[in-house]
């Protein structure tokens, strides 16, 4: 579904991604691990067209999408939960959710999805008329996930979706991801909670300073002793 070839990303002089190649198959959950500053978020942003790829290519369902205008990608079916939530602080919770459905025109589908999100995160429903900026950190994170669900993507990119969430909610987020996976959605997941991520994922890549250091089956990686020591703490 997604294929990245030899991706190069720079911020000014900083070489953040140094020739990364990865693929995501239809219906698969792929997880991206790596310590801080490894370049995970940069890769995701580049897929979404928010950061420019200096070298390499990205194709989505066989179509080249390298450096496509980001606003065209939603229509291709790419949904994105960014790092740091990026909710709209001055819009109400409900308005925030509706921005996710900007490209959609099916009123019935939208309201159904809205209900679905409210069901996942009841707190969002009680707070639907509150300015999102006034939500607590974790509530904002739920909102960011909810908003991405409303884009109803067939390929979902998640950048640390569990950050700042209470353990029970983390579990819930992963349950949701699992449901989505079971419904056939393709997911690219960046997570610091490596245990959860590897449990969920089919395959995973480990990124070190802009390069892929390890890749493979999630189960295999879980057994790799370096991964265990550094990312799983065992």
């Amino acid at each position: 579904m997604l294929a990245i070839q030899d991706l190069q990303v720079y911020y000014g002089k900083v070489h953040a991604v140094k020739g990364v190649s990865l693929t995501v198959q239809e219906g698969e959950v792929v997880s991206l691990l790596g310590s801080n500053g490894a370049g995970k978020s940069s890769i995701l942003k580049t897929i979404c067209g928010l950061t420019k790829a200096v070298g390499g290519s990205i194709s989505f369902r066989g179509k080249p999408i390298t450096n496509t205008k980001p606003y065209r990608l939603v229509k291709e079916g790419i949904g994105y939960v960014p790092e740091g939530r990026k909710i709209y602080p001055l819009l109400t919770v409900k308005e925030n959710l509706l921005t996710g459905a900007y490209h959609r025109n099916d009123r019935a589908g939208i309201s159904a999805d809205l209900e679905q999100v409210y069901e996942y995160f009841p707190i969002l429903q009680t707070k639907r008329d509150v300015l999102a900026g006034n939500l607590s950190g974790g509530q904002q994170q739920m909102l960011a996930v909810g908003r991405a669900l409303l884009t109803r993507p067939n390929f979902l990119i998640l950048d640390e979706p569990s950050m700042g969430l209470a353990p029970s909610v983390v579990a819930q987020i992963f349950a949701i991801i699992k449901t989505l996976r079971d419904q056939g959605m393709t997911i690219l997941l960046v997570e610091q909670n490596a245990y959860h991520a590897l449990t969920l994922a089919n395959r995973a890549y480990v990124l070190e300073t802009g390069k892929i250091a390890l890749e493979g089956n999630a189960e295999d990686l879980k057994k790799n002793h370096q991964v265990r020591e550094i990312y799983l703490g065992m």
């Binding site: 990608l73 909710i87 819009l91």
Partner: protein
């Protein structure tokens, strides 16, 4: 009637007249701010250009008022689009850069107008019979009602547009998190173009409407530009009802002070304005603000 009461009432009415003009201008500032985060210091100049365009059609080419009005809105909206194209690189930058960029555009517009239309200005006849009604020695100009009416209509239309339509929502969103909006499929560039087009059309609308009250000349923008901005701030920057409230309050304040100490009206009006701001730091109606850390 007691002369003091007459003076008070008459200046109140004058204040409402000026206030509605400030409100119209304030609406433009607020609209652009709310939907693209831009504090447009060229707004006053665009207001003047809009007034000129309309007036050239209406007075010099003898088109009818409504047509001239429509043409002014359209052409000025186009101008807004161009301005947005020029300033696009500044979108993501600090207030101060946008401020200077728009100031530069303002200077260009101001002086181009002098070159194109000359420095003398054009007097504009009222499009309706403006013989004032006298009520107990107080005179009310019918045209004031037109301005108040239009301002009210615009505020309702804008409010509906921004709060009820998808585009309106997307505009407000883009002003807050640009990248995220792009990722959600919003064409932020186009949206900003549209925003400035609407903002400029609003300016033209205000300019065209006040042409008969003022006198269309290159320097009509200065004080209205500033006072309109102050009005927008006073009401709460970015709030549509705030723009109306701010405009009226500022206009009435100015007039009431003028009855007491005429030469000092601006001094006192601005001092009161600042004092109000100190107590209501985000305006009377209030900008939507988040105070969570």
């Amino acid at each position: 009637m007691n002369p003091h009461v007459t003076i008070l009432l008459q200046s109140l009415i004058g204040g409402i007249g000026m206030g509605s003009i400030y409100a119209l201008v304030a609406l433009g500032y607020s609209m652009v701010y709310r939907s693209m985060g831009l504090v447009n210091f060229a707004h006053g100049n665009i207001f003047m250009v809009g007034a000129y365009i309309g007036t050239v059609f209406y007075v010099s080419m003898h088109t009818n008022f409504v047509l001239a009005f429509a043409l002014a809105l359209l052409l000025t909206a186009g101008l807004g689009m161009i301005v947005q194209k020029i300033l696009r690189p500044l979108e993501k930058m600090d207030l101060i850069y946008m401020m200077l960029g728009t100031l530069g555009i303002g200077i260009v517009l101001q002086n181009l107008s002098i070159i194109i239309w000359g420095p003398d200005g054009i007097a504009v006849p009222f499009p309706i019979n403006n013989t004032p009604w006298m009520v107990k020695g107080i005179s009310i100009a019918p045209y004031t009602l037109v301005i108040v009416g239009v301002a009210a209509l615009i505020v309702i239309a804008l409010q509906l547009f921004l709060n009820r339509t998808k585009i309106g929502l997307a505009m407000r969103a883009s002003a807050q998190e640009r990248d995220m909006s792009l990722a959600l499929g919003m064409n932020v560039g186009l949206m900003n173009g549209l925003t400035l087009a609407i903002g400029s059309a609003l300016a033209a609308c205000a300019g065209m409407l006040v042409g008969p009250v003022f006198y269309v000349s290159p320097d009509m923008s200065t004080s209205v530009g500033i006072n309109g901005f102050a009005a927008a701030i006073l009401g709460g920057f970015g709030s549509m009802p705030g723009a109306i409230v701010g405009g009226l309050v500022f206009g009435i304040l100015e007039q009431l002070v003028a009855t007491q100490v005429s030469a000092w009206s601006e001094v006192i009006a601005f001092v009161i304005f600042v004092v109000v701001l100190i107590f209501k730091p985000s305006g009377i109606v209030g900008e939507r603000v988040v105070d969570k850390l």
